[in-house]
């Protein structure tokens, strides 16, 4: 496994939902399902209501239900901005 990991910040206006390292992240944008691994090209997408799944370093999967929002990926740093999110 490569040394590189993703840094994920998952925030909503009311609180910080998730913050930490991850191997991969899956989300659904207006264009369709999206999986992000290390060294993904810079991307900015609009999320639709659905699940955001974060695979942690120990391969555990965390699921969040998100309603609306954005995802931005750059230099292995992912920010997910959800309008509201529940685990």
């Amino acid at each position: 496994m490569s040394e590189k990991t993703l840094t994920v910040e998952f925030v909503t206006p009311e609180k910080r939902v998730f913050s930490g390292k991850a191997i991969s992240l899956f989300a659904r944008t207006l264009e369709g399902d999206l999986g992000i691994l290390v060294d993904h090209a810079p991307l900015f997408g609009v999320l639709v209501d659905g699940k955001v799944r974060i695979k942690g370093l120990d391969a555990s999967l965390q699921e969040f239900e998100v309603s609306g929002g954005f995802i931005s990926v750059a230099y292995n740093r992912i920010s997910v901005l959800g309008e509201s999110a529940t685990q």
Binding site: E9, V11, T12, P13, E14, K15, R16, T29, L30, E31, L34, A41, P42, L43, F44, G45, V46, F70, S72, A74, Y75, R77, S79, L81, E83, S84
Partner: protein, 304 residues
């Protein structure tokens, strides 16, 4: 017990009861300030990420967005005033209203009509009493606003901004917001800010190293911006609501603290007066007794 003494004791009792209430309100506000501050802190990461995203998208798309462009001819401005639902908070609401009045005067000097939007019952009452027109108002959440409230307010204001002010009486060319900034426990300042047309300000904290990345946009830059800018307004309104809520609690705590101190002071001086009245009563009683005994003694001495 003499009449004077009874009156003093009654006043002391009633002030003691008031003091208990103000003291309780002080303690409640004190604990709520901390919660309100935590909520401000909890919303900061989102606001920072959002600001970063907006500046990134704005840099890479040359598309003009209706929310960022100024109208060629300005006709009308909207002013959103954030105040409290309840009183007992010193000058909190009135200083926000005063700030808004100043803003309205400058806007009118620039030849603009003003549409007022209000948050909090205090402002609504103030405007109703003076029979000033209100476009819309939201009440009932000033001490504990949620993102849903901010969203409802922003939706209405954004649609007013997008409507053409020349033809639509609800349409506005500018949006100003008056809120109370929470600087610290002791300093809260009523401020006015222009929200729309948008000027994107840089996120607080260290900027990401290097140049902004060349983003791929999904679906495309214009649509991303379309979705992003209303969220940005919402988050700014939300932040203003949260700061105002924290300021409201701080102002109430301070007002209630001085009310409690005043009650203490009053109780102290009234107790002194009551003591003096009691002593005067005793002195009078003694002199009456002594006088009576003297009179008796001299009467019986005369008869012998």
């Amino acid at each position: 017990m003499g009449a004077q003494l009874r009156i003093y004791r009654r006043r002391i009792r009633s002030i003691r009861a008031t003091k208990k209430i103000t003291r309780a309100m002080e303690l409640i506000s004190a604990s709520r300030i901390i919660k309100a501050q935590q909520r401000v802190a909890a919303s900061t990461p989102y606001a920072n990420e959002l600001t970063r995203a907006v500046s990134a998208v704005a840099t890479f798309s040359n598309t003009d967005h209706p929310l960022t462009t100024e109208s060629a001819t300005l006709k009308r401005a909207a002013v959103l005033i954030i105040t409290a639902d309840r009183g007992m908070a010193g000058a909190y609401s009135s200083s926000a209203i005063k700030e808004a009045d100043g803003l309205v005067i400058t806007l009118k000097e620039r030849g603009l009509e003003v549409n007022t939007y209000l948050v909090g019952r205090k402002a609504v009452n103030y405007f109703k009493f003076r029979k000033r027109p209100i476009k819309n108002s939201w009440t009932g959440f000033s001490d504990n606003p949620t993102y849903a409230h901010a969203k409802a307010i922003s939706d209405e204001l954004i649609s007013a901004f997008i409507a053409d002010a020349q033809v639509d009486v609800n349409g506005v060319d500018e949006l100003h917001i008056v809120y109370t900034e929470f600087r610290s426990m002791i300093t809260q300042i009523a401020m006015n800010k222009r929200m729309l047309p948008l000027e994107v300000v840089e996120a607080e904290g260290p900027a990401p190293a290097g140049l902004l990345p060349m983003y791929e946009f999904e679906p495309d830059a214009a649509e991303v911006l379309d979705a992003l800018l209303p969220r940005y307004i919402e988050s700014r309104v939300y932040n203003a609501l949260l700061q105002s809520a924290a300021s409201e609690h701080a102002a109430r705590r301070r007002a209630m603290k001085s009310a409690t101190d005043n009650a203490d002071e009053l109780i102290k001086s009234l107790t002194r007066l009551a003591n003096a009245a009691r002593q005067a009563e005793i002195t009078q009683e003694i002199s009456e007794i002594v006088g009576g005994a003297d009179a008796l003694a001299s009467a019986s001495a005369g008869s012998q």
